[in-house]
Symmetry: C3
Subunit: 210 residues, 3 copies
């Protein structure tokens, strides 16, 4: 049951991240095969790194090629549909937020299922959630989203942290998944809407101007 839910959400996370990869490809005016590569790398990149770190190889999409086929289909659909959206690139950050929150929870869940402790499970949630986007930005020649001013990694950390904490104290999986997703997505959404950010490091000279 848990595996079924996690698997569905993981699938949805793959789709929305694939869309963000395809949107970067559209911004760079790549061709349809470029869309497919960028969409695939973004959609399955984070989970791939999680699997490699945990030693779960062949990685999940080699075992279930339908993940890869889904990424390619979503990317091709984005290529065809993107023309109808006027400011399609604006949606990137919102799709990215959904994928971020989903992968934070499902990445942590996968790690727990394979025997990882709480610390590693949270780290795997953060890694699964952030590395797809990091690889997307680096391959697409964009400034990495982790350098953006608004709260980003922290939202993944919150989502994974809430999920793992609730599981550890014995909450039902369903409740933990929902709570983790809502916290992660809520924080990232709030950050996007109101430009929320944590205090940033500023040089000492800025603090004491006199």
């Amino acid at each position: 049951m848990l595996q079924t839910i996690t698997s569905y959400l993981d699938w949805f996370g793959v789709c929305v991240f694939a869309v963000t990869g395809a949107l970067v490809a559209s911004r760079k005016q790549m061709d349809i095969v470029g869309f497919a590569l960028m969409g695939s790398v973004t959609g399955i990149g984070g989970g791939t790194i999680r699997d490699v770190l945990l030693g779960l190889t062949p990685v999940f999409w080699v075992q279930k090629p339908s993940y890869l086929i889904t990424c390619i289909s979503v990317s091709v659909a984005t290529f065809l549909v993107a023309g109808f959206m006027q400011s399609r690139y604006r949606y990137l950050l919102w799709f990215d937020a959904v994928g971020l929150a989903l992968f934070a929870v499902t990445g942590a869940s996968t790690a727990l299922q394979h025997g990882a402790g709480a610390t590693i499970a949270i780290a795997m949630g953060v890694a699964t959630a952030t590395f797809g986007g990091i690889i997307r930005d680096i391959m697409g020649g964009e400034s990495p989203v982790i350098l953006s001013r608004e709260i980003y990694i922290t939202a993944a950390l919150l989502g994974a942290g809430v999920y793992v904490s609730l599981v550890v104290i014995g909450t039902s999986q369903d409740a933990a998944i929902v709570a983790g997703f809502i916290c992660g997505f809520g924080l990232r959404s709030a950050a996007l809407m109101w430009q929320l950010s944590l205090p940033r490091y500023r040089p000492a000279t800025d603090r004491n101007p006199e």
Copy 2:
């Protein structure tokens, strides 16, 4: 027999990609050790990612250090010889095209030998062919070749697709390898010579200027 042929071609692909890595190092005016690092990462990077994704670890060059030694030797030779070429950087894209077509076929072949289905085999061909160059460009601070205007990933896809399709329908390995290589290299060469490109995504405003 197949393994022998694949192995020879793989070897040749490693060499030509190592040359392209060394040429980026020369463009960046790196020293001889930098040449060796860039040549090695480019020559064995794509195959390393393929092996890690498929769970074939230790990766191939850890099992056969002669691959690494070959990369280093080729890079050092390029360092010494590069001075005699006036416009050496111009050759980069042609060496890259040979490596691209070779790795598309041998990467797919390796995946098939380890039990992968057609989809994953084609994906591994594309990954083996493209990621060495992607890592080279990112580490060398260059604009990733996948962002270039001319057909690139599509050539790898065609080469791997033709090879896998022919194997699936029962053609002899030799014929499939030759056909896959010719298609991949031919398409990339044509793209380089005549600036061929697939239709690119363009914003809707460009299409409806009025």
Copy 3:
């Protein structure tokens, strides 16, 4: 005994590299969670790549989460303390030099312990020493340190080479570790202090100006 010493030094290398990752985060004015991500990726990135290449998965820090916790703690401490340093970024290259020399030796040592030959052990020393910093620079949007003018990769190569050579000819582990570290750190320090560099590749036109 060897494993104990190697482990302690590896630990120290993780700490100093985590500091360099946190210093890049400070330069990019990231928040505290960004510090933790950058510090962790830099501190354990090189060893992670070594483990993945050698097939030692789950990677070391998944097996011993205290490595990860240490990285996070060091990064948070750097976040809090960085304000007291006026020109904190200047220290980055020196911490990096210590980590470079330590990881060159411990990376090679880990490979030897798992049955690798001399060539692969030296390559693993270089990979462990350099890839943490390479990932740090790429993720942080900085120009990769391997492109810097001063000797860098060569110092890792020297450290790993001296260590492995001494082990191969039968020197005690302690002596080999110390000698390897001193050579690697000494060369990198000298390069930093006196802007030492190996001869670089220069275009033929520069050589024959007339």
